[in-house]
Amino acid sequence: MPTLTYRDALNQALREEMQRDPNVFLMGEEVGLYQGAYKVSRGLLEEFGPQRVVDTPIAELGFAGIGVGAAMTGLRPVVEFMTWNFAVLALDQIVNSAAKMNYMSGGQFPMPIVFRGPNGAALQLGAQHSQAWESWLAHIPGLKVVAPATPADAKGLLKSAIRDNNPVIVLEGEMLYNTKGEVPDGELVIPIGQADIKRPGNDVTLICHSKTVTVALKAADLLQEAGVSAEVIDLRSLRPLDEAAIIQSVTKTNRCVVVEEGWHHCGVGAQVVDIIQRDAFDHLDAPVLRVTQADVPMPYNKALERAAKSSPEKVVAAARRVLYLD
């Protein structure tokens, strides 16, 4: 199987879907001539021309709305946000137009649109450029939300997102774009809503998504050294959540730690905990613990930033606590 970067896997998904369906087009800042701020759209302008690879002004609210309007005419827009930090300006269109249009029209306007771009912190970008929005987006009925962690998942989920008749949020990661992994050529469609066991284990479940999958896998390595077998569940989809996969794992391990990039209060992990205590109450041998970003805006200083982020060490510490090892 070919090895690709996460970036190229996304590029492949875009290219294949644009080849497959002339109604698919890409719009956003710098996606065309500049080949994408993070080069995800490299070569697409050359292959598909400026009508289908549309450079926009810096006007997130406006071009998100233009995407939604285009979807109302049956097109399948892929709207790229240079980063999700800037998409906060477009939330009105995402929430009030895209997520509600089909419902409030009584089913007359399906909304086959994708909003995608890198989410969460990279390195030392400071408070305004380091935000993980998944819990906000997952809160909203009418949206689907995916957050792939590997190149294969990125390709397969983006293809599903583009083919879906609903607005799908694709949360990528600046720190993931260069990571490599095996990606099947051609058709690879991963259904939205399925978690993936990234590493099987028996003693404790580590639930994670996007960038924290690496964190959890490293934590699992460290735990292995201490003789603890951790199962790593990558949620992949945050709305809908794969509740069955979560419950199945916790029913087996009886202990769980949830890791996420974003803030603690009302985060995705809180919802995961809610599901676990509700549906696996009698199987839990310890409270579920969470590892999240520190409850602060992201600081610029490198050491402070590192301390603010979730880490394998923090996950290990939490896992040891739910295992009553400390």
Binding site: P57, M72, G106, N165
Partner: protein, 341 residues
């Protein structure tokens, strides 16, 4: 408005070159009356508790929807704010289904899920009423983008109030429409107030059309109480839009009712006298005068038409009354669309 004006205006009507036939003039009157009578009944139904929530009437502004939509083809697109009953009716959504929607019934044009502010009809390319001020202006540009993308010849008409000019979405959408040469006409219905706020209190320049210049866009100022003037200006703008030249029209009109059914007709923000004065410009009175003076319709014909429209509206109320609520299950339907491409 005089026959001369009407004829002259029609001659200036741009590519179509059409002088409106007597039949079409009568049709315009019928549409304006339909809106008026419909809205009067909606007010009644609101008072009776059959309609809930916010309900924004179009009384006083009828010439805008009627004159502008007269310039469209059936497959052109229309998108509106929450003050869209008039446009919905003129676009041909049966009064039955509009009234049923206002009453939240399953037979409503949005199946009872949308209500007064969210009328939709996909088949008729009626792209909705929208509730966030300015929020639908980018959608209009997007619809026009879709048309152009597919090589279609339709245009999209986008209606909004003057207060929306102060919000960012308006500017972002105008700029992109101009840059991408989209087939869209922006119709600002300047009724002088956003809720209880006079435009001049919150806009540095009350000349809405001036904004077009910043986007290198054509513009026009139109007397919104004169249905022919609106028609003419829209014909021109629509013809330009079909060639990829968007236009911003400022249509000067006035709302004869309160902002919504829960707001006062007048009060601190405008006087009773002002409203009375404005009512002398009633667009329906102007058109009936014109038709009578020009000999197109006599008083009896006008009254007959009004009676016909009243009957249609009464029937709509009956239809809505007798229609069922959506099934309880409908609560969970259409949150997501089924299927995949």
């Amino acid at each position: 408005m005089s026959p001369a004006t009407a004829t002259k205006a029609s001659k200036d009507a741009g590519p179509s070159g059409t002088v409106l036939s007597a039949d079409r003039q009568r049709a315009l009157l019928r549409q304006m009356l339909l809106i008026r009578r419909f809205e009067e009944k909606a007010a009644e139904a609101y008072a009776l508790g059959k309609i809930g929530g916010f309900c924004h009437l179009y009384i006083g502004q009828e010439a805008v929807a009627v004159g502008s939509i007269a310039a469209l083809q059936d497959d052109d697109y229309i998108i509106c704010s929450y003050r869209e009953h008039g446009q919905a009716l003129v676009r041909g959504i049966p009064a039955n289904n509009v009234m049923a929607e206002l009453c939240g019934k399953a037979t409503g044009c949005s199946h009872g899920k949308g209500g007064s502010m969210h009328l939709f009809d996909a088949k008729r390319h009626f792209m909705g009423g929208h509730g966030i001020v300015g929020g639908h202006i980018p959608l209009a540009a997007g619809i026009a983008f879709g048309v152009k993308y597919k090589g279609g010849k339709q245009v999209c008409l986008c209606y909004f109030g003057e207060a929306a000019v102060n919000i960012g979405a308006f500017h972002e959408a105008l700029n992109m429409s101009a840059v991408w040469k989209l087939p869209v006409v922006f119709i600002c219905e300047n009724n002088r107030y956003g809720m209880g706020t006079a435009f001049e209190r919150v806009a540095a320049l009350t000349d809405v059309a001036e904004h077009a210049k910043s986007y290198d866009m054509a513009s026009g100022e139109v007397d919104g109480m004169d249905v022919f003037a609106v028609y003419d200006a829209t014909m021109k703008a629509v013809a330009a839009a079909r060639e990829g030249k968007p236009t911003l029209l400022e249509v000067r009109t006035y709302r004869f009712m309160g902002h919504s059914m829960s707001d006062p007709l007048h009060g601190v923000y405008r006087t009773k006298e002002e409203v009375e004065e404005q009512k002398k410009r009633d667009p329906i009175a102007a058109l009936t005068h014109h038709l009578r003076d020009g000999g197109t319709m006599d008083q009896a014909a006008i009254e007959a038409l009004d009676a016909e429209v009243r009957a249609e509206v009464d029937q709509a109320v009956k239809f809505a009354d007798e229609s069922p609520d959506p099934e309880p299950d409908a609560l969970f339907h259409d949150v997501l669309a089924d299927g995949h491409d």
